[in-house]
């Protein structure tokens, strides 16, 4: 059988299905109009039959149970339970804290094991197309890391499940009632995921070339389908708790499982998590490569892991760039669902978290850019562009400072007097969204510029219209930057709210135009370009620390944003449907939240190092000891020197 055709057919069908379902905007207007079945409190339901009745003269009653009209009456629907404080189990520690840590750890690992097969599949395919064995080996090595991570994901999932049922039994009872058989579908899918994962990894060398390779790719595709399905099923639970659909105001189920799953926030979260997983996974394998680079014992190893680190970083930053847009979509849907929830997140008590987010994304962008700048040393041709680095750095730092400036300050009366108001007259305006949107978009534009310069460093254009294309690229950058600033300043400060909000889309579109134009122009410009040789491995040790900074920042950021997402529900387990009356039903202070994030980040760091160690261990072979002859002084080296 021609497996190549099979693979391509499956891939195209999947992309079509996925694309269509993503585009069909999910909304809970799909919920059925029908009132819940069995809402009537009729006379029949009030009469409780107590048994069979037999009248004189009537035929003998049959021994089989006859259903009377009353029994066939449907049960009135059960809404969400209303809990009191005493209904919550007490275990001597904060229930929320336990579930927080368990859930976050599980999500870290789940994101990782879902993401890696995705880019591994692409890398494997690239390796097959180019014939470059390095790609295939790298893909195989990434999968090795994933195997151990997969076990840990499952362990943490089990731990989380037990914690949830122990500490929030009534909520879980309600969620089981709402989601019904779907939870077993989820559990069952793990059989497919596990089978495909083991098959994918262990058949690597057996299905290495030609037609068989297509078979291997098909297995990998199946693995990703299973993984993505698991992702979207689990996402439905989280988004249901934020914006319930398919239930009435009391929480009683009124729709089918699709209406319950397809809430207004489901697809935005699906998209955001899908992309973010890839960025996160790329960052972690980048750290693996950085670690191996620094521990490299040969020039060839150094070159290999330098190349691996670059590729991983490329994946991480490439996936990272569209994330703000996916996040914007999520926030827009939150605002559309409930303006109150939206403002709680960004204008209310959780607003400060977005200042912390600015610090984290600033770190990510700085680390990513620094890695690219350091990487320029691999190629002589980069000297043409290195003068731009200081200006890019300047813009990054300035924008970062704007982004991190808060709007609202908690001031004492004395401070208000000194300031002349509750907001600083100069810095206050920098604290609101228009300024921050300018800052973010500029940071993304110059990050892309760093990337573009790096990619150009080893090429010299030979096409005849090179001058024009370069002029066009410069023009696009300049006009885009002016447009971003104009949109932010004019619509942000001088028009009404709706135009202000709408202008942020204009800014995002400008950034996207720069990225797309950059890719297109470079492709045209460097047709048959002259290449200047680049040396892998010729990069400073210090640059590898950018590869460690990235996953740490990504991990902490993931914990931070996950915290925002789940606490935007405030004192509700399921927003508007099931109130949270536990002792932990308050929004904790940001310092407490930050400490929790640090705990999970450090735990994750430890576990990831364990995984890397296991991966390294699996390719370590102890040499067989050789017997030492008594008369000779020479001892054959049984172990390699150094390290």
């Amino acid at each position: 059988m021609n497996l190549k055709t099979l693979f391509k057919t499956i891939l195209v069908s999947l992309l079509l299905i996925w694309g269509v379902s993503l585009i069909s905007v999910s909304s809970n207007s799909l919920a059925s109009n029908a009132l819940a079945a069995g809402t009537s409190d009729t006379v029949e339901s009030r009469i409780q039959p107590e048994g069979k009745v037999h009248l004189e003269g009537d035929p003998e009653p049959s021994t089989t149970e006859e259903k009377s009209a009353v029994e066939e009456e449907a049960e009135p629907p059960i809404g969400a339970p209303k809990l009191k404080r005493k209904d919550y189990p007490k275990v001597g520690a904060s229930s929320r804290g336990i579930v927080w840590i368990a859930a976050q750890m599980h999500l870290f690992f789940a994101a990782f094991v879902l993401a890696v097969p995705m880019f591994v599949l692409v890398i494997e395919w690239v390796g097959m197309r180019t014939g470059d064995e390095r790609y295939d080996n790298m893909a195989h090595e990434f999968m090795k890391i994933t195997m151990t991570a997969y076990s840990i994901t499952a362990l943490l999932g089990g731990f989380l499940t037990f914690a949830l049922f122990l500490l929030y039994p009534q909520l879980m009872n309600y969620m089981m009632m709402v989601f019904d058989m779907q939870v077993l579908v989820y559990a069952g899918l793990f059989f497919a995921e596990s089978a495909l994962l083991y098959m994918y990894y262990y058949s690597w060398d057996a299905l290495r070339y030609g037609n068989k390779k297509w078979g291997h790719l098909t297995i990998g595709l199946g693995l990703n389908v299973a993984g993505t399905t698991l992702l979207v099923i689990a996402n439905a639970w989280a988004t249901f708790m934020m914006a319930p659909s398919g239930v009435d105001v009391t929480g009683a189920v009124t729709g089918d499982i699709w209406e319950i799953m397809k809430g207004p926030l489901w697809n935005p979260v699906n998209l955001h998590r899908f992309i973010a997983n890839i960025a996160f996974g790329g960052a972690i394998v980048g750290a693996y490569a950085g670690f191996k680079f620094l521990s490299a014992r040969t020039v060839e190893q150094r070159a290999l892991y330098d190349w691996m680190g670059y590729t991983a970083n490329f994946i991480a930053i490439l996936a990272f760039l569209p994330l703000p847009f996916a996040g914007y979509w999520l926030m827009a849907e939150i605002y559309a669902y409930s303006q109150q929830m939206g403002i709680t997140a960004m204008g209310g008590i959780l607003a400060w978290l977005f200042i912390v987010q600015a610090v984290l994304i600033g770190t990510i962008l700085l680390a990513g850019n620094y890695y690219l700048w350091s990487g320029m040393s691999r190629c002589e041709g980069s000297k043409r562009y290195t003068w731009m680095i200081k200006y890019i750095a300047l813009i990054l730092v300035a924008c970062f400072l704007v982004w991190v400036t808060p709007h609202t300050l908690i001031l004492s009366a004395q401070e208000i007097k000194q300031l002349g108001g509750s907001h600083h007259h100069l810095l206050g305006p920098l604290g609101i969204m228009p300024a921050k949107n300018i800052a973010v978009n500029l940071m993304l534009i110059v990050t892309f510029l760093s990337f573009q310069l790096y990619r150009r460093a080893d090429k010299v254009a030979t096409v005849s219209y090179a001058n024009f294309l370069n002029a066009l690229m410069v023009a696009i950058y300049v006009v885009a930057i002016v447009n971003v600033v104009f949109a932010g300043v004019y619509y942000g400060y001088f028009t009404n709210t709706v135009y202000k909000v709408g202008s942020s889309v204009m800014q995002v579109a400008s950034t996207l135009v720069v990225i797309v134009a950059g890719i297109v122009i470079d492709t045209l410009l460097f047709k048959n370009a002259k290449t200047i040789p680049a040396v892998w491995g010729k990069v400073s040790n210090r640059s590898q620390y950018a590869l460690f900074a990235l996953p740490i920042a990504f991990t902490w950021l993931m914990a931070l944003m996950g915290y925002v997402r789940s606490s935007v529900r405030t004192h509700w387990h399921v927003y508007t449907v099931m109130k949270d009356n536990s002792p932990d039903n308050f929004v904790p202070s940001i310092g407490y939240a930050g400490n929790m994030m640090t705990i999970v980040t450090i735990m994750f760091l430890g576990m990831v190092l364990f995984i890397f160690w296991i991966a390294s261990l699996s390719e370590t072979k102890q040499s067989k000891p050789v017997a030492i002859k008594k008369d000779t002084e020479k001892q054959p080296e049984a172990q390699e020197a150094g390290a």
């Binding site: 001058n467 024009f468 002029a471 023009a475 696009i476 300049v478 447009n483 009404n496 889309v505 400008s510």
Partner: protein, 45 residues
Amino acid sequence: MRILNNPVIAVVVAFVVAIILFYLLDHGIMSMQGLPLNSDLTPAQ
């Protein structure tokens, strides 16, 4: 299109193209959201 090799012409044409592109983009994006603009990019509502 040899004239475009002249650096000055190239720069001028490039900027004109870019400005037109972004002007149209601005109008398009805002109208798509139900927020029409006047020719001078001020809000029409």
